[in-house]
């Protein structure tokens, strides 16, 4: 049964990856908004922002990567919704395959698509002057955090993908997620924010993830931020996965 699960997941992942390579516009639209934001903040607002960092693009990139992933996963919900609506999801579920492999294929595809978008954004940041002295291991650590974050958000995206009534509904859930980095340390340091906002900003997961990645890039000691960031990611992942599975089981029953 397990070998069947991996085989079926591989076949179905191949299928949805083909969707991505045949509609590269989804990768581009995923990357274009964060890139535009990065340009805007670095070249328009950046001069006036006191970030305490020598280069604003260095300060900004971690938050931009979070926004990239948060907007990218809406396509996961959208693709899953299309499968539900076209009836091909039912077809797969009525076939002699490991049934959950249909969901895992979407999750793995989401991971690949988002990583491609992230790489595109990082390349643009490098052109804009982003520099880090970080070695391979540190880059791998950053990649690890982003992968975990993508998986957590992807399992959230599975829920509207399974339940949405319309394509807009399937992708609308990601708007608040895209907004979350603005009320965090992603764009400006939190200490100028008024009390309640600051309290929220300093305790929400994006701040910990952004700080951890920023410290890794600038080769500062990461302290406890990285563990809190990982704990948030794992926590969201477990809760989202559980809810997604409950939703999925309810759909079968």
């Amino acid at each position: 049964m397990t070998t069947r699960f991996f085989g079926d997941t591989a076949v179905l992942t191949g299928r949805s990856l083909r969707h991505i390579t045949r509609s590269l516009d989804t990768i581009i639209t995923t990357a274009i908004t964060p890139i535009a934001m990065m340009l805007l903040f670095v070249y328009v607002f950046g001069g006036a922002i006191v970030s305490g960092s020598d280069s604003y693009v260095n300060y900004l990139l971690p938050g931009i990567l979070i926004i990239t992933i948060a907007s990218g996963i809406s396509y996961t919900a959208f693709r899953l919704f299309l499968d539900m609506k076209s009836g091909i999801f039912e077809r797969f579920q009525s076939m002699p395959i490991a049934r959950s492999s249909v969901l895992w294929a979407h999750v793995l595809t989401s991971l690949v698509a988002n990583l491609i978008s992230v790489v595109v954004v990082v390349l643009v940041a490098l052109l804009m002057g982003f520099r880090s002295g970080a070695g391979v291991l540190v880059w791998l650590a950053v990649a690890g955090i982003l992968i975990l974050f993508t998986l957590a958000l992807t399992w959230i995206a599975v829920i509207p993908g399974l339940t949405a009534k319309s394509a807009d509904g399937a992708s609308a859930f990601s708007y608040p997620l895209i907004f979350l980095p603005f009320i965090s340390s992603a764009f400006v340091p939190t200490d100028t924010m008024p009390g309640p906002v600051r309290a929220f900003a300093e305790n929400q997961p994006v701040t910990f993830i952004v700080n951890a990645i920023r410290d890794l890039f600038t080769q500062q000691p990461v302290g406890t931020d990285i563990w809190i960031a990982l704990a948030w990611c794992v926590g969201i992942l477990i809760v989202a996965y559980t809810f997604a599975m409950v939703t999925y089981r309810r759909w079968i029953a």
Binding site: R4, G7, D8, V11, L12, R15, R18, H19, R22, S23, S86, G87, I88, E90, R91, F92, Q93, S94, M95, P96, I97, I252, A253
Partner: protein, 271 residues
Amino acid sequence: MTANQVQGPAIHVQGLEKSYKELEALRGVDFDVAPGSIFALLGSNGAGKTTVVKILSTLLKADAGTASVNGFDVATQSADVRESISLTGQFAAVDEILSGRENLVLVARLRHLKDPGTIADGLLERFALTDAGARRVSTYSGGMRRRLDIAMSLIGNPQVIFLDEPTTGLDPQGRIEVWQAVKELAGHGTTVLLTTQYLDEAEQLADRIAILHEGRIIVNGTLTELKQLLPPAKVEYVEKQPTLEDVFLAIVGGSGQGGSADADSNNDTDK
């Protein structure tokens, strides 16, 4: 791997009940389908046809009653049931972004068959889709899509095939193409359960017809048996005018009776 156990009926349904919250979709449905026959479940929209098909294809759990397919219970042996069946749902469940051939290869791979490419080519040929095989399905006509859909359902030679309203939304040409494909299936010994809201479709295809109305089977029999329920036919002399369908098919070049499966090649090029 393939489940080859049939003793008795290919499909056996007894006392099936299903409600969606307040709505009682099925209120005690019973019927049997003999192996190798075409069985039509006839009913208007909302009669519960799709609910029956979903329960039989293990996509939905019944509230009460039992159902078995190919000798396997749909509730307790659902994996064996899925080995024995293929579902062609109400909307052609094909992948629009892939080509026709890629769709077939995908299903063959998921059924763990050897040589998916050869299987795909064979089916493209059989359903007159060879020329369109490399094209994206989003460019197909409704009839071609349905044929591809049915071709996908045949991969792995399932013993039982469910066709849920296979011709809804098709033009007359497409309808004839699908009818042709279904007749061919039964010729190969496959059991077909077909749902439809079109009376002539049931009349054309089915060995047995059951009428599902408000969640219950109210009649079940062969066409001859159903006709005997009404007073015997009177002989009247009526001038037989061609129907609009006859006229349409004569003009566009499809033959109403034989139904040539390759007729699409000259009619679908306008896409």
